[in-house]
């Protein structure tokens, strides 16, 4: 029988990031919020910004994210996180100020706030979790729900006659001159998760370099409200969401390449 290696010989290869609080979350099994939280925390750790970071949590499933990061935190009204982040950043220009928002928050009730934060070139970062549904309230249609997608408020599938069309926020914000770094990534497989991590880290660097507004959109799962297994939900992201929301870099100003 193999004995464990002596403590002194052990090498830590995986541990909880310092920026992630050591507590249980309320997220459902299979939800990718856990992954995106970890990626954000790893980026903060690796950039050494733990003592200078402030998260602005939003309303939706991420409402308790202020609790899950071991950094200063506040909780905004629904959709208003970019305005709150603006206030914080203007009086704390050397701090890392970021919002963590879902698609109902950022792409519906908070469209004015996110568009104008980007237009002003506000040096804050939005981590935008797009799972095409309202998770916290139990699975209603989101501005990002796909045509035909069944939700509790589009029980026959999203009709574009009734509800119009999904909004592609990365493409919208990429049109604004204040945006410095706007990219869409996905969390449905290891390769894309690694790319997402790199993007979050880049976005934070863009902010700390004062280059302008940055947003990383993350295509994410909601197995509970989609009515799928965790595995099927990941497949649905790859097969259904990615074609409608193509992954890629939508706006990367030249100065970002020099970081």
């Amino acid at each position: 029988m193999m004995r464990d290696a002596p403590i002194s010989d052990r090498v830590v290869v995986y541990e909880r990031p310092q920026a992630l609080a050591d507590i249980h979350t309320h997220y459902c099994p299979g939800c990718t919020h856990g992954i995106s939280h970890r990626l954000v925390a790893e980026a903060i750790d690796e950039l050494g910004l733990n003592d200078r970071a402030i998260i602005v949590a939003s309303v939706g499933c991420s409402v308790f994210s202020y609790n899950y990061f071991d950094i200063d935190a506040c909780e905004a009204a629904h959709g208003r996180a970019p305005a709150m982040a603006t206030g914080l950043k203007r009086v704390s220009p050397d701090r890392l100020v970021f919002t963590y928002q879902g698609d109902g928050d950022l792409a519906s009730i908070g469209t004015a706030e996110i568009i104008h934060a980007a237009a002003r070139g506000e040096p804050v970062t939005a981590v935008f979790v797009n799972n095409a549904i309202y998770g916290m309230t139990g699975g209603q249609m989101a501005p990002t729900s796909l045509p035909g997608q069944k939700t509790t408020s589009s029980p026959f599938g999203r009709s574009t006659d009734i509800a119009g069309f999904p909004i592609r926020m990365s493409e919208v914000l990429a049109e604004l001159d204040g945006s410095a770094y706007i990219v869409r990534r996905s969390l449905h497989n290891v390769k894309e998760i690694r790319r997402a991590k790199k993007a979050i880290k880049t976005a934070f660097k863009v902010q700390m370099a004062g280059l302008g507004f940055s947003m990383v959109e993350l295509l994410s799962t909601c197995p509970t409200n989609w009515g799928m297994s965790a595995s099927d939900a990941l497949t649905w992201v790859a097969d259904t969401m990615v074609p409608y929301y193509p992954l890629g870099d939508y706006r990367v100003i030249d100065a970002v390449k020099d970081l």
């Binding site: 506040c74 009204a77 305005a83 914080l88």
Partner: protein
């Protein structure tokens, strides 16, 4: 002393007592306040943002207030309606914040003339939930300056929302007044502020308490603070009340016009006194109740349909009859009108 427009005087007073950031949106009759700050804040290298809406402006204020700086916004009635959400969140987060409301005629888009029609929306909870902001109502440019200074002190003393509520007349008129001396900006931020957690545990500012017991306990703490404020912060001025048979009550411009009417009534030999509340919340309830025992009648004068009237009636109970004279829609009463109202009710008062 210098000739100052009310809106400009408020803006400059705020700067001189250490306003560190301003976020606002243009709306008449408040706009000179924003315009003055758009120049002066930039000159002083302090943050100024013209927001995309009043909704965004108050949430920017919320963010900056979380960082523990002296911050304010200003607006006028329809803009205050839009800010109600943010005001409630600010109140639910126990952070100091100052709001200036230069009131105009309503409801709806209404007009840009002076009004006191916001009394209900600012003295009750200013948004959803269960709290009362401190509300200060100036009746002159000098008081607008003094109450702006006081507002920051009270906001920080109690970690509470303070509203300076001036009708459009106060914002738009010019009169001689004295500004405070320029103070240096504070350098330290309070220990509860969001500054990054260097050297301490993390700070969290929220207004969410999921458990009923916790939400109720929070509300009890807020109500205890409000009870302290009720006791300690009532402000009012009295004129000729010692021997008054009729008491006139009015705030802001209505109170100031009523002063002229009371002087004229005295000249005619009528025993009339004036009480002008300077704090609308806390309302000078006890003093009015006391005077209600002495006088034979009370006349409330407002530039609305009778909003403070309800607080007066709560204070007076059945001790004295309460009459009302109001103008609405941006109309400012003239002293003669109020004098006529005094004479109309006065015979009842001495009966």
């Amino acid at each position: 002393m210098e000739m100052l427009k009310g809106n400009v005087a408020i803006a400059e007073a705020a700067i001189r007592v250490g306003l560190e950031a301003y976020f606002g949106y243009p709306i008449t009759p408040q706009t000179e306040l924003l315009e003055h700050l758009s120049r002066r804040m930039v000159e002083l290298d302090r943050p100024f943002v013209q927001a995309e809406s009043e909704v965004a402006a108050i949430n920017m204020v919320y963010g900056a207030a979380c960082a523990g700086v002296r911050v304010m916004t200003s607006s006028s009635s329809p803009g205050i309606s839009l800010m109600q959400e943010g005001l409630s969140y600010i109140a639910g987060s126990d952070i100091p914040c100052v709001l200036v409301d230069i009131m105009r005629g309503g409801p709806g888009l209404g007009n840009i003339l002076p009004s006191q029609g916001d009394y209900f929306q600012i003295t009750r909870s200013a948004g959803h939930g269960d709290y009362r902001p401190i509300v200060l109502a100036p009746a002159s440019v000098q008081e607008a300056i003094d109450f702006t200074v006081l507002a920051f002190d009270l906001a920080e003393k109690y970690r509470h929302l303070v509203i300076v509520a001036a009708d459009g007349q106060i914002g738009q008129m010019m009169e001689p007044a004295e500004l405070p001396a320029m103070r240096p900006l504070r350098t330290a931020r309070p220990d509860w502020a969001l500054t990054g957690k260097a050297g301490r545990e993390k700070n969290v500012i929220t207004s969410i308490y999921l458990k009923g017991e916790e939400m109720e306990a929070y509300n009890q703490r807020v109500q205890a603070r409000i009870a302290t404020i009720r006791t300690a912060e009532q402000r009012w001025v009295e004129t000729d009340t010692e021997d008054a048979d009729l008491l006139v009550i009015g705030f802001g411009t209505a109170g100031r016009v009523a002063y002229s009417a009371v002087e004229e009534a005295r000249a005619k030999g009528l025993n009339v006194g004036l009480l002008r509340p300077q704090s609308l919340f806390p309302f000078p309830t006890e003093r009015i109740a006391e005077l209600a025992q002495q006088v034979s009648g009370i006349l409330v004068v407002e530039m609305n349909a009778g909003q403070m009237l309800e607080d007066v009636r709560l204070a007076v109970g059945t001790s004295a009859p309460v009459d009302f004279y109001g103008r609405m829609g941006g109309m400012v009463p003239m002293p003669d009108e109020i004098l006529t109202a005094i004479e109309d009710v006065y015979p009842v008062a001495i009966r």
